[in-house]
């Protein structure tokens, strides 16, 4: 009885083409036709620069959501890491060492989140809401609420550096994608990420240290956030204690747009990349049309809602056909 139910659901998971493919295509064509200046090469580079940070933090967010978790602390943590990076640079540390400090802060916070979530079984969204407050508070205390201006010119130079015409932040983000792809699809860690979301009990029964892998997901998230601070500080040449707050909204939206489900460990890393690009295209087009960022947030929300509704209708149709 139980087994036959399982089999049905396995058949169901042979999914049709995710909606994100059509959505991003429609959006890109509409922007090319309807928004003057959108299709220029300068603007395409611009979109790449704009989405680079989002891509870096959306990668671990995919793994977190695959494991039926959520990380609301990403934006606040990224702001904190940027502050730490800028302040240690200000102390005369080299760029590598300062980035190390930023990564250490990120990974420690990830470890803290992961331990509370995996070891103690606390609900991820509340834990990371708490760390959001703590990270934001530490950033405020460290800076006394002011921006930290970076004196060292090498960070801005690195940000502006291009290889074969491709800006460094874009290459950095693509490397982050490649690393995450490798981890998710070609290592035991990746297999366990899917399993933690899909069937954690079976994993525990099979004797795998599921909790350690579960914690590792959040530590990996902290690592990526720590690295993203380099791009953020390079862009602004300064760090503000609240500069990236709310960025986790775009990251979560990108993952959901990309078709990763909060249940059963279903997901697609490249879908997240497409989700990130879709959000980047949408925000850029709205920018060019002179629509302010507060309404862009609303538009991203509506886009996600639209895709979720379409997916849910399609899913119920597939299920209806099966029944």
């Amino acid at each position: 009885m139980e087994a036959s139910v399982e089999r049905v659901s396995v058949v169901r998971t042979r999914r049709p083409v995710p909606s994100i493919v059509a959505t991003s295509a429609v959006l890109a064509v509409a922007a090319m036709l309807g928004v003057p200046g959108f299709a220029s090469s300068g603007n395409v580079t611009n979109i790449g620069l704009q989405v680079s940070i989002l891509l870096i933090i959306a990668m671990p967010m995919t793994l977190v959501i695959l494991s039926e978790g959520l990380d609301l602390s990403v934006g606040a943590l990224l702001s904190l890491c940027a502050v730490v990076f800028a302040q240690t640079l200000g102390l005369g540390w080299g760029m590598a060492l300062a980035l190390g400090a930023s990564v250490a802060v990120g990974m420690l916070t990830g470890l803290f989140n992961g331990a509370l979530i995996a070891k103690l079984g606390l609900p991820p969204f509340v834990v990371t809401l708490g760390t959001l407050g703590i990270a934001h508070g530490i950033a405020l205390v460290l800076t006394d609420g002011n921006a930290v201006v970076v004196g060292n010119p090498s960070v801005a130079q690195l940000y502006a550096w291009t290889i074969l015409g491709i800006p460094f932040p874009v290459i950095f983000a693509l490397l982050a994608y490649a690393l995450t792809h490798l981890l998710l699809y070609h290592t035991r860690f990746g297999t366990y990420v899917f399993a933690i979301g899909g069937n954690r009990d079976a994993l525990l029964l099979a004797g795998i240290k599921a909790k350690a892998f579960h914690i590792a997901i959040y530590v990996f998230g902290g690592l990526m956030v720590g690295l993203a601070a380099l791009v953020l500080v390079g862009r602004m040449n300064s760090a503000e204690p609240a500069s990236a707050i709310g960025m986790e909204f775009d990251a979560i939206a990108a993952v959901v747009l990309g078709g990763t489900s909060f249940e059963r460990g279903e997901g697609w890393l490249f879908g997240t990349v497409m989700g990130v690009v879709t959000i980047g295209v949408l925000r850029n087009a709205l920018n060019l049309l002179g629509i302010e960022s507060s309404l862009q947030v609303v538009s991203v929300g509506i886009l996600v809602l639209l895709v979720v509704v379409i997916d849910s209708v399609r899913k119920s149709r597939v299920n209806g056909a099966k029944a």
Binding site: L116, G133, G137, I252, G301
Partner: protein, 335 residues
């Protein structure tokens, strides 16, 4: 009444520290909260002279009432096994709209109606997203948080609206018999909500859904409709809190609600309501609101730099979640 009897019974046996052996779990939780409130108040009274002044104590009570208005709806949502992250953003947008109506010459009644319809609509949309689209509650309401916040930013355009009619301001600043009006509202909501959750079928069904929604569905409870109802109530309460808050501070801006989100969640958890649904009470939430109001008041009186407040509140929130889960674990071990 029974609380009083039980507590006398308990204090006669102070040597046996675990109150739970003698009274129900619920009562024991409330006694612990009451003791905690007294302890914090004593510490603050010794630490700063300003704490014990009557205006300050009334201010704490007013702050607690405001938080409770916001927290009561969220408590119902959490009892039903859901969550609502959009309450503070909802408060912001509703208050800004009410402020806008009054600024353009609309009467306070029209402003209140606008705020309440806006907030209730947001709650209804949350309920529909959670039930019809089957989105996880924290995801749906998190998305709603940013959409609503974005609308508030857009509506205000970075400006502030201030200066409202005296009649409206009475709602937040008025007194009746020496006690602030919001306190009466709090008591009214507390009594109403306690009757609903404790005595009416609706309340029992909410607990049942939170404990196990599948079992609730199989026993004939209209789970979807009840869930939509609790999210809608949560929206409505955000609107009521928005009006009281607006009347009190006499100014609206697009960031006014945001600092309330973490304290309100912390207050509910400290009040003993479980994040996993099905356990908790409105009276517990009230005790949590008083504790958080005391903590915030204490930070202000001790001249703790405002930059420290997110850090303190975030830590309090985590400690509250930790206590919830560890306490539950112990209960399960005890059997």
């Amino acid at each position: 009444m029974s609380i009083l009897n039980n507590s006398r019974f308990v204090w006669s046996r102070v040597s046996q520290l675990d109150v739970r052996h003698h009274v129900g779990e619920e009562t024991a939780t409330l006694i612990y909260r009451a003791v905690l409130i007294v302890l914090i108040a004593l510490v603050l009274a010794f630490a700063t002279a300003a704490f014990s002044a009557a205006p300050n104590l009334l201010n704490v009570l007013r702050q607690a009432s405001l938080m409770f208005l916001l927290a009561s709806g969220l408590t119902l949502v959490i009892l039903s096994g859901g969550f609502d992250l959009s309450i503070a953003a909802n408060l912001t947008l509703s208050a800004c709209l009410a402020a806008g109506v009054m600024k353009t010459g609309g009467s306070p009644i029209l402003a209140a109606a606008t705020a309440l319809s806006c907030s209730t609509l947001i709650g209804l949309l949350n309920g529909l997203a959670v039930t019809l689209l089957r989105l996880p509650p924290f995801l749906a309401t998190y998305g709603m948080l940013w959409v609503v916040q974005g609308l508030a930013f857009h509506y205000m355009g970075g400006n502030e609206i201030y200066g409202f009619p005296t009649a409206f301001r009475t709602l937040g600043t008025g007194f009746l018999g020496g006690i602030p009006l919001p306190v009466y509202m709090m008591v009214f909501v507390l009594i109403g909500a306690t009757i609903v959750t404790g005595g009416l079928n609706f309340g029992r069904e909410i607990y049942a859904i939170g404990a196990n929604s599948e079992v609730a569905r199989l026993s004939g409870i209209p789970v979807r409709r009840r869930k939509i109802a609790v999210y809608t109530i949560s929206g409505l309460m955000s609107g009521i809190a928005a009006l009281v808050y607006l009347a009190r501070v006499n100014a609206a801006d697009s960031a006014m609600g945001e600092p309330l989100l973490l304290p309100v969640i912390a207050a509910i958890l400290i009040g003993g309501t479980s994040l996993f649904g099905g356990a908790g009470s409105l009276l517990g939430t009230l005790s949590g609101c008083v504790i958080l109001a005391l903590v915030i008041d204490g930070m202000n009186l001790l001249n703790l730099n405002a930059n420290w407040q997110p850090l303190v509140i975030g830590s309090v929130l985590l400690i509250a979640v930790l206590a919830d889960v560890l306490g539950r674990g112990r209960k399960e071990r005890i059997g």
